[in-house]
Amino acid sequence: MHLDLSELSQLAPIFRELFKGYHVSRRDPELYAQLSNFQDAYRALFKALGFELVCDTRGFYYFVPDTAITSAQVNKTAQRLALFTFIIVEHLADQGRDPIAVLDGGSLGRDELPSLLEKYRDLFVQAEVTTQDELEEKIMRRMTQLGFASEDNGVYRFLPPMHRFLDVCLSVQQDRDLAASLHSILPLPTPVLIDDEAEVEEEDEEAALARAIAAEQQEMDA
Protein backbone atom coordinates (compact mmCIF):
# COMPACT_ATOMS: atom_id res chain seq x y z
CA MET A 1 0.00 0.00 0.00
CA HIS A 2 1.31 3.43 -0.95
CA LEU A 3 1.43 5.90 1.91
CA ASP A 4 1.67 9.60 1.30
CA LEU A 5 2.81 11.11 4.58
CA SER A 6 2.03 14.62 3.37
CA GLU A 7 -1.66 13.67 3.32
CA LEU A 8 -1.55 12.58 6.93
CA SER A 9 -1.30 16.13 8.19
CA GLN A 10 -2.52 15.29 11.72
CA LEU A 11 -0.33 12.24 12.15
CA ALA A 12 1.69 13.52 15.10
CA PRO A 13 -1.28 14.71 17.24
CA ILE A 14 -3.32 11.65 16.30
CA PHE A 15 -0.52 9.30 17.27
CA ARG A 16 0.15 11.21 20.46
CA GLU A 17 -3.50 11.04 21.54
CA LEU A 18 -4.08 7.42 20.56
CA PHE A 19 -0.85 6.33 22.19
CA LYS A 20 -2.01 7.87 25.46
CA GLY A 21 -5.06 5.63 25.32
CA TYR A 22 -7.28 8.50 24.17
CA HIS A 23 -10.36 7.67 22.10
CA VAL A 24 -10.76 10.02 19.14
CA SER A 25 -14.39 10.83 18.38
CA ARG A 26 -16.29 13.70 16.77
CA ARG A 27 -15.49 15.73 19.85
CA ASP A 28 -12.11 16.31 18.15
CA PRO A 29 -13.33 17.29 14.70
CA GLU A 30 -9.94 17.77 13.03
CA LEU A 31 -8.43 14.50 14.22
CA TYR A 32 -11.66 12.62 13.61
CA ALA A 33 -12.02 13.99 10.07
CA GLN A 34 -8.42 13.03 9.28
CA LEU A 35 -8.88 9.53 10.62
CA SER A 36 -12.17 9.07 8.73
CA ASN A 37 -10.78 10.39 5.46
CA PHE A 38 -7.54 8.40 5.57
CA GLN A 39 -8.66 5.52 7.73
CA ASP A 40 -6.90 2.83 5.69
CA ALA A 41 -3.65 4.78 5.45
CA TYR A 42 -3.56 5.42 9.18
CA ARG A 43 -4.43 1.85 9.97
CA ALA A 44 -1.72 0.52 7.66
CA LEU A 45 0.90 2.93 8.99
CA PHE A 46 0.12 2.15 12.63
CA LYS A 47 0.00 -1.56 11.91
CA ALA A 48 3.46 -1.37 10.37
CA LEU A 49 4.61 0.29 13.57
CA GLY A 50 3.03 -2.40 15.71
CA PHE A 51 -0.17 -0.61 16.79
CA GLU A 52 -3.63 -1.81 16.05
CA LEU A 53 -5.98 1.05 15.25
CA VAL A 54 -9.60 0.13 15.86
CA CYS A 55 -12.15 2.03 13.79
CA ASP A 56 -15.47 1.59 15.54
CA THR A 57 -18.43 2.24 13.27
CA ARG A 58 -20.23 3.96 16.13
CA GLY A 59 -17.89 6.89 15.58
CA PHE A 60 -14.60 6.57 17.40
CA TYR A 61 -11.01 5.39 17.02
CA TYR A 62 -8.58 3.93 19.52
CA PHE A 63 -5.50 1.77 19.86
CA VAL A 64 -5.78 -1.75 21.18
CA PRO A 65 -2.75 -2.59 23.24
CA ASP A 66 -0.53 -5.46 22.26
CA THR A 67 -2.53 -8.59 23.04
CA ALA A 68 0.62 -10.50 23.96
CA ILE A 69 1.19 -8.07 26.80
CA THR A 70 -2.33 -7.40 27.94
CA SER A 71 -4.45 -10.40 27.10
CA ALA A 72 -4.15 -11.75 30.61
CA GLN A 73 -4.33 -8.39 32.29
CA VAL A 74 -7.13 -6.04 33.05
CA ASN A 75 -6.01 -2.61 33.97
CA LYS A 76 -7.37 -0.93 37.01
CA THR A 77 -8.64 2.10 35.13
CA ALA A 78 -10.79 -0.11 32.93
CA GLN A 79 -12.21 -1.81 36.01
CA ARG A 80 -13.00 1.49 37.68
CA LEU A 81 -14.61 2.98 34.59
CA ALA A 82 -16.61 -0.20 34.00
CA LEU A 83 -17.81 -0.13 37.60
CA PHE A 84 -18.82 3.49 37.18
CA THR A 85 -20.76 2.60 34.01
CA PHE A 86 -22.61 -0.22 35.77
CA ILE A 87 -23.48 2.12 38.61
CA ILE A 88 -24.67 4.91 36.31
CA VAL A 89 -26.82 2.49 34.31
CA GLU A 90 -28.46 1.09 37.43
CA HIS A 91 -28.83 4.50 39.05
CA LEU A 92 -30.52 6.01 35.99
CA ALA A 93 -32.73 2.96 35.49
CA ASP A 94 -33.78 3.20 39.16
CA GLN A 95 -34.73 6.83 38.61
CA GLY A 96 -36.81 5.87 35.59
CA ARG A 97 -34.38 7.67 33.26
CA ASP A 98 -33.03 6.16 30.08
CA PRO A 99 -29.42 5.03 30.71
CA ILE A 100 -28.54 4.64 27.06
CA ALA A 101 -29.83 8.11 26.21
CA VAL A 102 -27.55 9.51 28.92
CA LEU A 103 -24.46 7.42 28.17
CA ASP A 104 -24.79 7.80 24.41
CA GLY A 105 -24.38 11.54 24.01
CA GLY A 106 -26.30 12.64 27.10
CA SER A 107 -24.94 14.41 30.13
CA LEU A 108 -24.62 14.14 33.89
CA GLY A 109 -24.21 17.08 36.26
CA ARG A 110 -21.30 17.11 38.69
CA ASP A 111 -23.88 17.86 41.38
CA GLU A 112 -25.26 14.35 40.91
CA LEU A 113 -21.98 12.75 41.93
CA PRO A 114 -22.27 13.11 45.74
CA SER A 115 -25.60 11.28 45.90
CA LEU A 116 -24.22 8.64 43.55
CA LEU A 117 -21.19 8.17 45.79
CA GLU A 118 -23.40 7.94 48.85
CA LYS A 119 -25.78 5.42 47.30
CA TYR A 120 -23.04 3.12 45.95
CA ARG A 121 -20.40 3.70 48.60
CA ASP A 122 -19.88 -0.05 49.17
CA LEU A 123 -19.07 -0.54 45.49
CA PHE A 124 -16.93 2.55 45.05
CA VAL A 125 -14.82 1.46 48.02
CA GLN A 126 -13.80 -1.61 46.04
CA ALA A 127 -12.37 0.69 43.39
CA GLU A 128 -10.53 2.67 46.08
CA VAL A 129 -12.86 5.62 45.65
CA THR A 130 -14.16 6.99 48.93
CA THR A 131 -14.51 10.74 48.51
CA GLN A 132 -15.97 13.08 45.93
CA ASP A 133 -12.44 14.26 45.08
CA GLU A 134 -11.33 10.70 44.45
CA LEU A 135 -14.39 10.05 42.32
CA GLU A 136 -13.59 13.08 40.22
CA GLU A 137 -9.88 12.39 40.07
CA LYS A 138 -9.80 8.63 39.58
CA ILE A 139 -12.91 8.24 37.46
CA MET A 140 -14.29 11.42 35.93
CA ARG A 141 -10.90 12.93 35.08
CA ARG A 142 -9.76 9.61 33.70
CA MET A 143 -12.89 9.45 31.54
CA THR A 144 -12.20 12.86 30.08
CA GLN A 145 -8.50 12.06 29.61
CA LEU A 146 -9.32 8.89 27.69
CA GLY A 147 -11.99 10.55 25.54
CA PHE A 148 -15.03 8.83 27.07
CA ALA A 149 -16.52 12.08 28.32
CA SER A 150 -15.99 15.80 28.14
CA GLU A 151 -16.47 18.25 30.95
CA ASP A 152 -17.89 21.71 30.60
CA ASN A 153 -19.03 23.97 33.43
CA GLY A 154 -19.67 21.15 35.84
CA VAL A 155 -21.53 19.01 33.30
CA TYR A 156 -20.07 15.77 32.01
CA ARG A 157 -21.15 14.89 28.49
CA PHE A 158 -20.67 11.27 27.52
CA LEU A 159 -19.10 10.59 24.11
CA PRO A 160 -19.52 7.71 21.63
CA PRO A 161 -16.55 5.68 23.03
CA MET A 162 -18.81 4.94 26.03
CA HIS A 163 -20.20 2.20 23.82
CA ARG A 164 -17.13 0.18 24.83
CA PHE A 165 -18.50 0.03 28.35
CA LEU A 166 -22.08 -0.51 27.24
CA ASP A 167 -20.66 -3.47 25.33
CA VAL A 168 -19.28 -4.74 28.65
CA CYS A 169 -22.82 -4.64 30.07
CA LEU A 170 -24.07 -6.60 27.07
CA SER A 171 -21.35 -9.21 27.29
CA VAL A 172 -21.94 -9.59 31.03
CA GLN A 173 -25.62 -10.05 30.31
CA GLN A 174 -24.77 -12.79 27.83
CA ASP A 175 -22.29 -14.40 30.20
CA ARG A 176 -24.17 -17.36 31.54
CA ASP A 177 -21.24 -18.38 33.70
CA LEU A 178 -21.42 -15.10 35.54
CA ALA A 179 -25.16 -15.35 36.03
CA ALA A 180 -24.74 -18.92 37.24
CA SER A 181 -21.89 -17.96 39.54
CA LEU A 182 -24.18 -15.57 41.38
CA HIS A 183 -26.10 -18.58 42.50
CA SER A 184 -23.11 -20.74 43.41
CA ILE A 185 -20.53 -20.51 46.13
CA LEU A 186 -17.54 -21.32 43.92
CA PRO A 187 -15.16 -18.39 43.37
CA LEU A 188 -14.83 -16.91 39.91
CA PRO A 189 -11.53 -17.17 38.05
CA THR A 190 -9.53 -14.12 39.02
CA PRO A 191 -7.82 -12.27 36.20
CA VAL A 192 -4.15 -11.38 36.53
CA LEU A 193 -3.87 -7.67 37.02
CA ILE A 194 -1.25 -5.07 36.52
CA ASP A 195 -1.62 -1.62 37.96
CA ASP A 196 -0.69 0.78 35.26
CA GLU A 197 -2.01 3.81 37.07
CA ALA A 198 0.39 6.70 37.01
CA GLU A 199 0.15 7.29 40.75
CA VAL A 200 0.77 3.66 41.52
CA GLU A 201 3.81 3.71 39.27
CA GLU A 202 5.12 6.69 41.09
CA GLU A 203 4.71 5.02 44.44
CA ASP A 204 6.51 1.97 43.11
CA GLU A 205 9.28 4.17 41.82
CA GLU A 206 9.62 5.81 45.24
CA ALA A 207 9.65 2.46 46.98
CA ALA A 208 12.24 1.09 44.57
CA LEU A 209 14.37 4.15 45.10
CA ALA A 210 14.13 3.82 48.86
CA ARG A 211 15.10 0.17 48.61
CA ALA A 212 18.05 1.02 46.34
CA ILE A 213 19.25 3.74 48.71
CA ALA A 214 18.94 1.44 51.71
CA ALA A 215 20.89 -1.28 49.89
CA GLU A 216 23.56 1.24 48.90
CA GLN A 217 23.91 2.43 52.48
CA GLN A 218 24.16 -1.14 53.74
CA GLU A 219 26.92 -1.75 51.24
CA MET A 220 28.73 1.40 52.27
CA ASP A 221 28.37 0.51 55.94
CA ALA A 222 29.76 -2.92 55.21
Partner: protein, 425 residues
Protein backbone atom coordinates in the same frame (compact mmCIF):
# COMPACT_ATOMS: atom_id res chain seq x y z
CA UNK B 1 -81.28 10.03 3.31
CA UNK B 2 -78.80 12.89 3.56
CA UNK B 3 -77.70 14.36 0.30
CA UNK B 4 -73.97 13.61 -0.17
CA UNK B 5 -73.30 16.99 -1.76
CA UNK B 6 -74.51 18.78 1.40
CA UNK B 7 -72.22 16.68 3.58
CA UNK B 8 -69.24 17.32 1.35
CA UNK B 9 -70.06 21.02 1.15
CA UNK B 10 -70.28 21.25 4.96
CA UNK B 11 -66.95 19.41 5.34
CA UNK B 12 -65.28 21.75 2.85
CA UNK B 13 -66.85 24.87 4.36
CA UNK B 14 -65.98 23.96 7.95
CA UNK B 15 -62.63 22.22 7.32
CA UNK B 16 -60.74 24.82 9.39
CA UNK B 17 -62.95 23.95 12.37
CA UNK B 18 -63.20 20.22 11.80
CA UNK B 19 -59.51 19.48 11.33
CA UNK B 20 -58.42 20.56 14.83
CA UNK B 21 -61.43 18.78 16.29
CA UNK B 22 -60.33 15.50 14.70
CA UNK B 23 -57.40 15.29 17.10
CA UNK B 24 -59.77 15.58 20.07
CA UNK B 25 -62.11 13.02 18.60
CA UNK B 26 -59.12 10.70 18.05
CA UNK B 27 -58.70 10.72 21.84
CA UNK B 28 -62.39 10.32 22.75
CA UNK B 29 -65.75 12.05 22.84
CA UNK B 30 -66.59 15.70 23.58
CA UNK B 31 -69.46 17.22 25.52
CA UNK B 32 -71.56 19.99 24.00
CA UNK B 33 -69.90 22.67 26.15
CA UNK B 34 -66.40 21.36 25.28
CA UNK B 35 -67.35 21.46 21.62
CA UNK B 36 -68.59 25.05 21.95
CA UNK B 37 -65.31 26.05 23.68
CA UNK B 38 -63.21 24.41 20.97
CA UNK B 39 -65.14 26.09 18.19
CA UNK B 40 -65.04 29.46 19.92
CA UNK B 41 -61.25 29.14 20.26
CA UNK B 42 -60.89 28.59 16.52
CA UNK B 43 -63.46 31.19 15.43
CA UNK B 44 -62.84 34.17 17.63
CA UNK B 45 -65.26 36.55 15.90
CA UNK B 46 -68.24 34.20 16.08
CA UNK B 47 -71.23 34.71 18.34
CA UNK B 48 -72.68 31.90 20.46
CA UNK B 49 -75.56 31.78 18.00
CA UNK B 50 -73.13 31.15 15.09
CA UNK B 51 -71.58 28.26 17.00
CA UNK B 52 -74.99 26.82 17.75
CA UNK B 53 -75.84 27.04 14.04
CA UNK B 54 -72.62 25.25 13.02
CA UNK B 55 -73.19 22.47 15.56
CA UNK B 56 -76.82 22.13 14.51
CA UNK B 57 -75.87 21.73 10.89
CA UNK B 58 -73.24 19.09 11.74
CA UNK B 59 -75.75 17.12 13.80
CA UNK B 60 -78.38 17.40 11.05
CA UNK B 61 -75.92 16.13 8.46
CA UNK B 62 -74.87 13.23 10.70
CA UNK B 63 -71.30 14.51 10.83
CA UNK B 64 -71.64 14.62 14.62
CA UNK B 65 -73.53 11.85 16.34
CA UNK B 66 -74.52 11.54 20.02
CA UNK B 67 -72.69 8.88 21.99
CA UNK B 68 -74.92 5.94 22.87
CA UNK B 69 -76.46 6.37 26.35
CA UNK B 70 -74.71 9.77 26.78
CA UNK B 71 -76.85 12.17 24.75
CA UNK B 72 -74.82 15.17 25.94
CA UNK B 73 -71.59 13.83 24.50
CA UNK B 74 -70.78 13.73 20.82
CA UNK B 75 -68.38 11.97 18.51
CA UNK B 76 -67.65 12.04 14.80
CA UNK B 77 -69.70 9.70 12.67
CA UNK B 78 -67.39 6.67 12.21
CA UNK B 79 -67.60 6.85 8.40
CA UNK B 80 -66.81 10.58 8.41
CA UNK B 81 -64.03 9.98 10.95
CA UNK B 82 -62.41 7.40 8.66
CA UNK B 83 -62.75 9.71 5.67
CA UNK B 84 -61.21 12.62 7.58
CA UNK B 85 -58.42 10.32 8.83
CA UNK B 86 -57.71 9.38 5.23
CA UNK B 87 -57.60 13.04 4.25
CA UNK B 88 -55.35 13.89 7.20
CA UNK B 89 -53.15 10.82 6.64
CA UNK B 90 -53.78 9.86 10.26
CA UNK B 91 -54.28 6.14 10.21
CA UNK B 92 -54.94 3.70 12.92
CA UNK B 93 -53.11 0.44 12.63
CA UNK B 94 -55.45 -2.39 11.76
CA UNK B 95 -55.18 -5.94 12.87
CA UNK B 96 -53.29 -8.63 11.08
CA UNK B 97 -56.34 -10.80 11.68
CA UNK B 98 -58.43 -8.50 9.48
CA UNK B 99 -56.08 -9.13 6.57
CA UNK B 100 -56.19 -12.84 7.27
CA UNK B 101 -60.01 -12.73 7.26
CA UNK B 102 -59.95 -10.90 3.91
CA UNK B 103 -57.59 -13.56 2.57
CA UNK B 104 -59.90 -16.37 3.69
CA UNK B 105 -62.74 -14.57 1.97
CA UNK B 106 -60.67 -14.31 -1.21
CA UNK B 107 -60.10 -18.05 -1.09
CA UNK B 108 -63.83 -18.63 -0.70
CA UNK B 109 -64.54 -16.28 -3.62
CA UNK B 110 -62.05 -18.25 -5.73
CA UNK B 111 -64.13 -21.35 -4.91
CA UNK B 112 -67.37 -19.59 -5.95
CA UNK B 113 -65.73 -18.39 -9.17
CA UNK B 114 -64.66 -21.94 -9.95
CA UNK B 115 -68.23 -23.20 -9.26
CA UNK B 116 -69.79 -20.49 -11.45
CA UNK B 117 -67.40 -21.36 -14.24
CA UNK B 118 -68.08 -25.08 -13.88
CA UNK B 119 -71.83 -24.56 -14.27
CA UNK B 120 -71.19 -21.97 -17.02
CA UNK B 121 -73.10 -19.21 -15.17
CA UNK B 122 -71.61 -16.11 -16.77
CA UNK B 123 -73.64 -13.63 -14.66
CA UNK B 124 -72.61 -15.18 -11.37
CA UNK B 125 -69.03 -15.47 -12.62
CA UNK B 126 -68.89 -11.77 -13.50
CA UNK B 127 -70.44 -10.83 -10.12
CA UNK B 128 -67.99 -13.02 -8.16
CA UNK B 129 -65.06 -11.62 -10.12
CA UNK B 130 -66.19 -8.07 -9.31
CA UNK B 131 -66.50 -9.02 -5.65
CA UNK B 132 -63.02 -10.52 -5.71
CA UNK B 133 -61.65 -7.40 -7.36
CA UNK B 134 -63.27 -5.16 -4.73
CA UNK B 135 -62.05 -7.36 -1.89
CA UNK B 136 -58.49 -7.16 -3.25
CA UNK B 137 -58.84 -3.37 -3.36
CA UNK B 138 -59.95 -3.49 0.28
CA UNK B 139 -56.78 -5.38 1.19
CA UNK B 140 -54.64 -2.91 -0.77
CA UNK B 141 -56.35 0.02 0.96
CA UNK B 142 -55.80 -1.62 4.32
CA UNK B 143 -52.13 -2.29 3.64
CA UNK B 144 -51.58 1.33 2.59
CA UNK B 145 -53.43 2.51 5.70
CA UNK B 146 -51.39 0.23 7.94
CA UNK B 147 -48.15 1.43 6.41
CA UNK B 148 -49.03 5.05 7.22
CA UNK B 149 -49.99 4.01 10.75
CA UNK B 150 -46.66 2.20 11.18
CA UNK B 151 -44.76 5.30 10.10
CA UNK B 152 -46.68 7.26 12.73
CA UNK B 153 -45.88 4.66 15.42
CA UNK B 154 -42.15 4.92 14.65
CA UNK B 155 -42.28 8.71 14.54
CA UNK B 156 -44.06 8.94 17.87
CA UNK B 157 -41.45 6.69 19.49
CA UNK B 158 -38.55 8.63 18.02
CA UNK B 159 -39.86 12.06 18.90
CA UNK B 160 -41.20 11.38 22.38
CA UNK B 161 -39.46 12.71 25.45
CA UNK B 162 -35.94 11.23 25.75
CA UNK B 163 -36.10 11.46 29.52
CA UNK B 164 -38.90 8.93 30.02
CA UNK B 165 -37.81 5.31 30.31
CA UNK B 166 -37.24 3.54 27.05
CA UNK B 167 -39.67 0.79 28.01
CA UNK B 168 -42.49 3.32 28.17
CA UNK B 169 -41.25 5.28 25.18
CA UNK B 170 -41.14 2.22 22.99
CA UNK B 171 -44.17 0.45 24.48
CA UNK B 172 -46.22 1.16 21.38
CA UNK B 173 -43.41 -0.06 19.10
CA UNK B 174 -43.07 -3.30 21.05
CA UNK B 175 -46.84 -3.84 21.09
CA UNK B 176 -47.06 -3.09 17.36
CA UNK B 177 -44.29 -5.52 16.67
CA UNK B 178 -45.90 -8.28 18.68
CA UNK B 179 -49.45 -7.68 17.52
CA UNK B 180 -48.95 -6.67 13.90
CA UNK B 181 -45.49 -7.24 12.45
CA UNK B 182 -44.81 -10.68 13.92
CA UNK B 183 -48.19 -12.15 12.82
CA UNK B 184 -47.75 -10.43 9.43
CA UNK B 185 -44.39 -12.17 9.03
CA UNK B 186 -46.16 -15.48 9.68
CA UNK B 187 -48.97 -14.53 7.32
CA UNK B 188 -46.76 -13.47 4.40
CA UNK B 189 -44.37 -16.39 4.89
CA UNK B 190 -43.92 -18.73 1.93
CA UNK B 191 -46.22 -21.27 3.62
CA UNK B 192 -48.40 -18.65 5.34
CA UNK B 193 -52.09 -17.94 4.74
CA UNK B 194 -51.37 -14.98 2.49
CA UNK B 195 -49.26 -16.87 0.00
CA UNK B 196 -51.58 -19.86 0.06
CA UNK B 197 -54.65 -17.69 -0.56
CA UNK B 198 -52.96 -15.75 -3.36
CA UNK B 199 -51.73 -18.96 -4.98
CA UNK B 200 -55.18 -20.53 -4.81
CA UNK B 201 -56.91 -17.51 -6.40
CA UNK B 202 -54.15 -17.20 -9.00
CA UNK B 203 -54.47 -20.89 -9.94
CA UNK B 204 -58.22 -20.56 -10.38
CA UNK B 205 -57.84 -17.48 -12.57
CA UNK B 206 -55.06 -18.95 -14.73
CA UNK B 207 -56.90 -22.26 -15.17
CA UNK B 208 -60.01 -20.34 -16.18
CA UNK B 209 -58.03 -18.38 -18.76
CA UNK B 210 -56.81 -21.58 -20.42
CA UNK B 211 -60.23 -23.27 -20.09
CA UNK B 212 -61.90 -20.29 -21.76
CA UNK B 213 -59.59 -20.81 -24.75
CA UNK B 214 -60.84 -24.40 -24.97
CA UNK B 215 -64.53 -24.10 -23.95
CA UNK B 216 -65.36 -20.60 -25.15
CA UNK B 217 -65.53 -17.25 -23.38
CA UNK B 218 -67.88 -16.68 -20.44
CA UNK B 219 -66.25 -13.40 -19.40
CA UNK B 220 -63.81 -11.06 -21.08
CA UNK B 221 -60.17 -12.27 -20.81
CA UNK B 222 -59.17 -8.72 -19.93
CA UNK B 223 -61.26 -8.88 -16.78
CA UNK B 224 -59.49 -12.07 -15.66
CA UNK B 225 -56.09 -10.62 -16.49
CA UNK B 226 -56.87 -7.40 -14.63
CA UNK B 227 -57.97 -9.31 -11.55
CA UNK B 228 -54.88 -11.48 -11.77
CA UNK B 229 -52.66 -8.39 -12.00
CA UNK B 230 -54.39 -6.88 -8.99
CA UNK B 231 -53.85 -10.07 -6.98
CA UNK B 232 -50.13 -9.91 -7.78
CA UNK B 233 -50.08 -6.22 -6.86
CA UNK B 234 -51.65 -7.10 -3.52
CA UNK B 235 -48.97 -9.74 -2.91
CA UNK B 236 -46.15 -7.30 -3.72
CA UNK B 237 -47.80 -4.61 -1.65
CA UNK B 238 -48.04 -6.91 1.38
CA UNK B 239 -44.37 -7.81 1.08
CA UNK B 240 -43.38 -4.16 0.71
CA UNK B 241 -45.50 -3.11 3.69
CA UNK B 242 -43.95 -5.84 5.77
CA UNK B 243 -40.45 -4.89 4.68
CA UNK B 244 -41.16 -1.26 5.43
CA UNK B 245 -42.56 -2.20 8.85
CA UNK B 246 -39.43 -4.18 9.64
CA UNK B 247 -37.15 -1.40 8.48
CA UNK B 248 -39.06 1.13 10.58
CA UNK B 249 -39.61 -0.83 13.74
CA UNK B 250 -36.81 -3.38 13.94
CA UNK B 251 -34.09 -0.83 14.87
CA UNK B 252 -36.36 0.63 17.56
CA UNK B 253 -37.26 -2.80 18.87
CA UNK B 254 -33.59 -3.75 18.91
CA UNK B 255 -32.79 -0.53 20.75
CA UNK B 256 -35.39 -1.38 23.38
CA UNK B 257 -34.07 -4.93 23.64
CA UNK B 258 -30.51 -3.65 23.87
CA UNK B 259 -31.58 -1.22 26.54
CA UNK B 260 -33.04 -4.07 28.57
CA UNK B 261 -29.90 -6.12 28.01
CA UNK B 262 -27.62 -3.26 29.08
CA UNK B 263 -29.65 -2.61 32.24
CA UNK B 264 -29.74 -6.29 33.09
CA UNK B 265 -26.00 -6.66 32.35
CA UNK B 266 -25.15 -3.74 34.62
CA UNK B 267 -27.31 -5.13 37.43
CA UNK B 268 -25.71 -8.56 37.03
CA UNK B 269 -22.21 -7.10 37.07
CA UNK B 270 -22.94 -5.03 40.19
CA UNK B 271 -24.39 -8.07 41.94
CA UNK B 272 -21.25 -10.04 41.09
CA UNK B 273 -18.97 -7.21 42.23
CA UNK B 274 -20.88 -6.88 45.50
CA UNK B 275 -20.39 -10.57 46.21
CA UNK B 276 -16.94 -11.24 44.79
CA UNK B 277 -15.20 -7.92 44.34
CA UNK B 278 -14.13 -5.91 41.34
CA UNK B 279 -12.44 -8.86 39.66
CA UNK B 280 -15.75 -10.69 39.33
CA UNK B 281 -16.42 -9.08 35.96
CA UNK B 282 -14.82 -11.36 33.37
CA UNK B 283 -11.63 -9.84 32.10
CA UNK B 284 -12.39 -10.80 28.52
CA UNK B 285 -15.26 -8.32 28.54
CA UNK B 286 -13.12 -5.42 29.70
CA UNK B 287 -11.97 -2.78 27.26
CA UNK B 288 -8.20 -2.47 27.04
CA UNK B 289 -6.40 0.83 26.91
CA UNK B 290 -2.86 1.60 25.94
CA UNK B 291 -0.61 2.72 28.73
CA UNK B 292 -0.97 6.25 29.99
CA UNK B 293 1.13 9.28 29.28
CA UNK B 294 3.89 8.86 31.85
CA UNK B 295 5.40 5.94 29.94
CA UNK B 296 5.13 7.89 26.76
CA UNK B 297 7.23 10.77 27.96
CA UNK B 298 9.70 8.53 29.70
CA UNK B 299 10.68 6.56 26.62
CA UNK B 300 13.11 7.99 24.14
CA UNK B 301 11.90 10.12 21.24
CA UNK B 302 9.15 7.68 20.45
CA UNK B 303 6.83 9.93 18.49
CA UNK B 304 9.65 11.19 16.36
CA UNK B 305 11.01 7.77 15.67
CA UNK B 306 7.65 6.31 14.80
CA UNK B 307 6.40 9.19 12.74
CA UNK B 308 9.49 9.48 10.61
CA UNK B 309 10.32 5.81 10.50
CA UNK B 310 8.86 5.52 7.05
CA UNK B 311 10.27 8.82 5.87
CA UNK B 312 13.94 7.84 5.82
CA UNK B 313 14.51 8.45 9.48
CA UNK B 314 18.17 8.19 10.30
CA UNK B 315 19.06 7.26 13.84
CA UNK B 316 22.09 8.81 15.45
CA UNK B 317 25.12 6.50 15.50
CA UNK B 318 25.56 4.97 18.91
CA UNK B 319 29.03 5.42 20.36
CA UNK B 320 30.00 2.76 22.84
CA UNK B 321 33.09 3.21 25.03
CA UNK B 322 35.92 0.91 24.12
CA UNK B 323 37.51 -1.17 26.86
CA UNK B 324 41.07 -0.92 25.55
CA UNK B 325 41.05 2.88 25.25
CA UNK B 326 41.57 5.08 28.28
CA UNK B 327 38.82 7.64 28.73
CA UNK B 328 39.95 11.15 27.97
CA UNK B 329 38.38 14.38 29.03
CA UNK B 330 35.86 14.77 31.87
CA UNK B 331 34.26 11.66 33.31
CA UNK B 332 30.62 11.13 32.30
CA UNK B 333 28.06 12.24 34.88
CA UNK B 334 26.18 9.65 36.87
CA UNK B 335 22.45 9.65 36.00
CA UNK B 336 20.33 11.77 38.28
CA UNK B 337 18.03 9.91 40.65
CA UNK B 338 14.42 10.93 41.23
CA UNK B 339 15.16 11.73 44.86
CA UNK B 340 18.07 13.95 43.94
CA UNK B 341 16.05 15.87 41.38
CA UNK B 342 13.08 16.23 43.73
CA UNK B 343 15.34 17.60 46.47
CA UNK B 344 16.97 20.06 44.10
CA UNK B 345 13.59 21.12 42.85
CA UNK B 346 12.27 21.56 46.42
CA UNK B 347 15.25 23.74 47.27
CA UNK B 348 14.57 25.96 44.27
CA UNK B 349 10.91 26.65 45.19
CA UNK B 350 9.04 28.86 44.45
CA UNK B 351 9.95 28.26 40.83
CA UNK B 352 8.59 30.69 38.20
CA UNK B 353 9.15 28.33 35.25
CA UNK B 354 9.97 24.62 35.62
CA UNK B 355 11.25 24.11 32.07
CA UNK B 356 13.61 27.12 32.26
CA UNK B 357 14.90 25.82 35.58
CA UNK B 358 15.54 22.38 34.06
CA UNK B 359 17.41 23.95 31.14
CA UNK B 360 19.54 25.92 33.61
CA UNK B 361 20.25 22.77 35.58
CA UNK B 362 20.96 20.56 32.57
CA UNK B 363 21.96 22.81 29.69
CA UNK B 364 23.37 19.85 27.77
CA UNK B 365 20.66 17.37 28.75
CA UNK B 366 18.93 15.28 26.09
CA UNK B 367 15.49 16.54 25.12
CA UNK B 368 13.71 13.34 26.03
CA UNK B 369 15.41 13.29 29.41
CA UNK B 370 14.46 16.91 30.08
CA UNK B 371 10.88 16.18 29.08
CA UNK B 372 10.85 13.19 31.38
CA UNK B 373 11.99 15.33 34.30
CA UNK B 374 9.50 18.01 33.31
CA UNK B 375 6.69 15.48 33.39
CA UNK B 376 7.91 13.81 36.57
CA UNK B 377 8.49 16.97 38.57
CA UNK B 378 5.34 18.74 37.42
CA UNK B 379 3.23 15.79 38.63
CA UNK B 380 4.93 15.54 41.99
CA UNK B 381 2.26 15.69 44.67
CA UNK B 382 4.21 17.80 47.12
CA UNK B 383 4.32 20.71 44.62
CA UNK B 384 1.49 22.92 43.53
CA UNK B 385 1.66 23.77 39.88
CA UNK B 386 0.27 26.61 37.84
CA UNK B 387 0.06 26.40 34.07
CA UNK B 388 2.00 29.04 32.11
CA UNK B 389 1.50 30.34 28.57
CA UNK B 390 2.95 28.32 25.69
CA UNK B 391 6.47 29.31 24.65
CA UNK B 392 9.52 27.86 22.94
CA UNK B 393 12.48 26.39 24.80
CA UNK B 394 15.83 25.56 23.23
CA UNK B 395 17.42 22.35 24.39
CA UNK B 396 20.86 21.71 23.01
CA UNK B 397 19.44 19.69 20.14
CA UNK B 398 15.76 20.69 19.74
CA UNK B 399 13.31 23.54 19.87
CA UNK B 400 10.49 22.49 22.20
CA UNK B 401 7.16 24.30 22.34
CA UNK B 402 5.20 23.61 25.51
CA UNK B 403 3.16 25.14 28.30
CA UNK B 404 5.40 24.99 31.31
CA UNK B 405 4.44 25.22 34.98
CA UNK B 406 5.28 27.52 37.84
CA UNK B 407 5.86 25.40 40.94
CA UNK B 408 5.08 26.25 44.54
CA UNK B 409 5.40 24.14 47.61
CA UNK B 410 2.16 22.99 49.26
CA UNK B 411 2.88 25.30 52.22
CA UNK B 412 3.24 28.37 50.00
CA UNK B 413 0.02 27.54 48.30
CA UNK B 414 -1.87 27.25 51.55
CA UNK B 415 -0.83 30.80 52.38
CA UNK B 416 -2.06 32.15 49.09
CA UNK B 417 -5.77 32.73 49.04
CA UNK B 418 -6.11 33.10 45.29
CA UNK B 419 -4.66 29.78 44.26
CA UNK B 420 -5.11 28.89 40.60
CA UNK B 421 -6.86 25.68 39.68
CA UNK B 422 -4.79 22.70 38.64
CA UNK B 423 -4.61 21.78 35.01
CA UNK B 424 -4.10 18.44 33.41
CA UNK B 425 -0.74 18.10 31.75
Amino acid sequence: MIEPKRVLRALAEHWALLEPLCEHFDQGTLSLSELRLQLAAHQLDSTPQDITNVLDSWIRLDILVPVAKSPNRFELNAQIHDFLAYLRREHRLGLCLEIEAYLRHLERLAGYIQDAFDIRDSNDLARQLRLLDMRVRDVLKKLANDEQALVAVAERAKTSDRQIPLRQRYAEVLATWDEYVEPMIQLVNADGAFEQGVRKVENVLLRMLSEQQRLGHLVDDDMLLRTHARILEMQTSAQLTLRHARELLLPLREEARRHNAVTRGAALALAAIRRKGLDAVPQAAMPMFTRPQSTFLGSASQVEAYVYALARFEPKPARFPKAHKAHRGETPKAPRTVKEMLDRCSDALPMPDLMSWLLDQEPNGDTDELLYWFSRLSREKRFVRERLERRDYHTHEHLVSLRSFALLSRGDDANETSASPLHAS
